[in-house]
Amino acid sequence: MSATRSPKVAERVAPKAAEPQPSKKKPRNDDDGPAFSELFAAWIESHRASLIDSLRRLGKQPIGSFFTCLVMAVALSLPMGLSLLLKNVERLGGSWQRAAQISLYMDINASDSDGQALVAKAKALGGVADAEYIDKKRALDEFQQQSGLGEAIKELPENPLPGVVVVTPLEVDKAALEALRQSLSELPSVQQAQLDLVWVERLAAILKLGDRFVFGLTVLLVSALLLVIGNTIRLHIENRRVEIEVIKLVGGTDSYVRRPFLYMGALYGMGAGILSWGILAFGLDWLNGAVVGLSGLYGSDFALGGVPPSDGLSLLLGAVLLGYIGAWIAVARHLRELAPR
């Protein structure tokens, strides 16, 4: 009996101070109880047996187990998929941001040669990738096309628009851009240097909103996932009520009773994680064809990224953990009801 053995084991580990310490190792006899190594091996064996038993039980109901995993996988895929899409949009936003430009509006009387000189001076500054001069006529043509005020503008006695030098910066950092704008505004012939980052800020705000949406959705779907796991484990508990009662009557502790269900929860989570990874990889690949086609129409070579291995592993680990936690909550809730009758 373990109850009578346990104190002896404890005494071996921490002998009483008053007792003389034998200089030689005392030979073991059968009444000493199992050694630590035996207990550890038995503990490992117990976990192995619980894991195999849980696998066997899941394997006995392959369709039911698969659909449970699939429901969980869908719940995991939605927030994870949205998160990956947002990351892609951020990447796209980053490439646009690199195309952020500073417009240098010249004096109204500045000539084309002043414009070319300004281009040369701008290019000579650090942090400028490129600079292009747009003369007054081209500026007017573009304005007529974009504003829809073509006829009205034609009535003007003279062209009211100045020449513009469009500067493409090297860096995308907002502070660096502002410093560059300041330097450019001090160049001769420049009346106004305008840095337009409003659209970048708008995109950032949209992405922030998207992040919050994904977070809210994640919380909701994780709760749903815990309920799915909890309900599944509750059914397993109901099916094994007699076994649990017998285990408790022959001295099984709560942790012994809980163990196979925790493995089961973790296995459901692992199955769901693998399925979810597959769904996301397939889904992003499927979407990518359309995205590449669309971005090609805009002259971009943008393509959706797949599921990075680190994100996939995090998804898998998170799913296992969620399965484990869901099972823990379910068993903890029902353990009291499992008292032998």
Partner: protein, 223 residues
């Protein structure tokens, strides 16, 4: 081994399971508890298994006060007890070997030790050749013997049996009682709740008689 001191059990619905019961069971003793249905036999066993707690009085088992025991201590208390049920409570999806091995797996014994002890328990109940069968493949008497083997495999200090011969014919019942006596001869205290007075009388052991939760007799059976 067991000491009941004015132990009473009253249920919230007003039913009284036991009235101030007092008796003492020595280590290694063989004892019957008898009485009609509702006499309190099952309540007594449930108290000993810490499935219920006494409402008043003191109940000691191997020196432990079962009225004060914590929930965490209960599994370790039960490891000192073997239990045999009238309906066997076997797990039909496990082999005979695995049914009997269950208490040893819970104790965390090594595989070779479990195999050794299960084989020994199976020999003691004369089922050595049935280890790989499932309980559904066995007769009722054999199933009861598997239940006994599971109850004794971890060498408990006390063996409790609730109507262990209730579903058996007289020949099988006598055979099962013989197994209990063999176990008792090895030093295990045995407490059997039964209403089979004819069988009890033949065995000439101490017998407690309960009636409506009260102890009305304590003496050797058959006298």
């Amino acid at each position: 081994m067991i000491r009941f001191e004015q132990v009473a059990k009253r249920y919230p619905n007003g039913h009284v399971g036991l009235h101030e019961l007092s008796f003492h069971v020595r280590r290694g003793e063989f004892l019957f508890v008898t009485g009609h249905s509702g006499a309190g036999k099952s309540t007594l066993l449930r108290l000993l298994l810490a499935m219920e707690r006494p409402t008043s009085g003191k109940l000691l088992l191997a020196g432990q006060d079962l009225g004060q025991i914590t929930n965490a201590q209960i599994p370790f208390l039960r490891r000192q007890i073997g239990v045999v049920f009238q309906n066997h409570q076997l797990l039909f999806d496990r082999t005979v070997f695995n049914n009997i091995a269950l208490p040893l797996q819970i104790l965390g014994l090594s595989k070779p030790e479990i195999a050794k002890r299960v084989d020994s328990a199976l020999e003691r109940v004369a089922l050595a050749d049935k280890a790989d069968l499932y309980p559904g493949d066995l007769s009722t008497g054999q199933q009861q013997r598997v239940g006994i083997a599971r109850a004794i495999v971890h060498r408990p200090a006390l063996l409790l049996a609730d109507e262990p011969t209730g579903n058996l014919d007289p020949r099988l019942a006598a055979e099962i009682m013989g197994v209990f006596e063999d176990i008792n001869r090895l030093g295990t205290s045995v407490l059997i709740a039964s209403h089979d007075l004819a069988l009890i009388a033949r065995m000439r052991h101490r017998m407690l008689t309960l009636q409506r939760g009260r102890l009305i007799g304590d003496g050797e059976a058959g006298k």
